[in-house]
Symmetry: C2
Subunit: 193 residues, 2 copies
Amino acid sequence: MKLTPLIERFVLHCGEMGSRWGINRTIGQVYALLFLSPTALCAEEICERLGISRSNASVALRELESWRLIRREHRPNDRREFYRAPEDLWLIFRTMIEERHRREVEPTLSMLREALLTEPASAEEFYARERMAAMHELIEQATDWLEQIRLMPPARLRQLLRLGRRLLSLLDLAEKAGLLPQSPLEESDHVLA
Amino acid sequence: MKLTPLIERFVLHCGEMGSRWGINRTIGQVYALLFLSPTALCAEEICERLGISRSNASVALRELESWRLIRREHRPNDRREFYRAPEDLWLIFRTMIEERHRREVEPTLSMLREALLTEPASAEEFYARERMAAMHELIEQATDWLEQIRLMPPARLRQLLRLGRRLLSLLDLAEKAGLLPQSPLEESDHVLA
DNA sequence: CGCGATTTTCTGAAATCACGGAAAAGAATG
DNA sequence: CATTCTTTTCCGTGATTTCAGAAAATCGCG
């Protein structure tokens, strides 16, 4: 690996995290390298710096593209493709959430919806169905939230993030203004809690 | 697998999702089974229902315990240990987030903090350091958020979740009330965006 | 077209991981 | 303290995943 110690450390760490995340080590490393790079890099350079094979880099890059975490670039008078990680950290974060949602949450919602169509055939199934219904509801709410966040202009989003420990006071404020749903707690609490 | 079709389907799906999440299929299945079960189950029963070996179940159960996703129970006059998934869905969700935070975010923060102590030795490293600093800041903000959520009473949390598309209006309200940080956008935007 | 440059796909080897069976350890009971 | 029931650990095997190298495909350009 031909990297400065600072960069190498970050790259190795991301590789490690990559494996815990279901994506593999190489993909994590390639992303880390691009994330730290001020310029777009070509595949060959990525291979050299990380000490991986060309083919390995190829699949990693394709995978990262499918996650929308990197984009290709072209330079005039150069056939090679260059890859770059978008800079805006918030955007990156949001993209990751969106992609995970698409790949994991949505299929789960479908499964639940279908499952909920069937009539429970026993007490055991009845309970199971209740649980799935509760899960379905929670996920849908979370999805709504996500959608709100997706639609929010970045500046606003950063405000929201920076809100930190003022969040609680904000909620108090909201309650006083009657903005919070006046908790139909009865109906949902016996399911959720 | 000795399960009703409804339950089997859910279990298989969770197993599938488990493998995408870095935890393995068996663990996902065991959790799914417990999640749907109205009563605590003993290891033996889990093995039978899922058609897995005793040892396999043992490691899965231990792993789930380390994630605080299930707890052990004892019954009088019964030596066996019984396992149960907590019911409160919100609590489950929060636990997952907390554990992932502990296992993935915190080590990353440490790494970043240490890395940020070193002086950049080149233009390349200088940029890399900037990127890490920005990442560090974002993660810290997210962590603050998480902490707010952790401290929030469950009822309040559910309100917040149910807020859905009123979130934007809430933010407007907050801005008017002067609760939002008056965006020191200049300093952070050239790094983040 | 055809040629060099580049990327993608294929294939087999190596590494890792998942899992079951057996042995070991631990806990309650008489 | 032995017996029995239960859980845990260890280890071998089989499956899956990762990866490099080679072959194939694609692309730009004369």
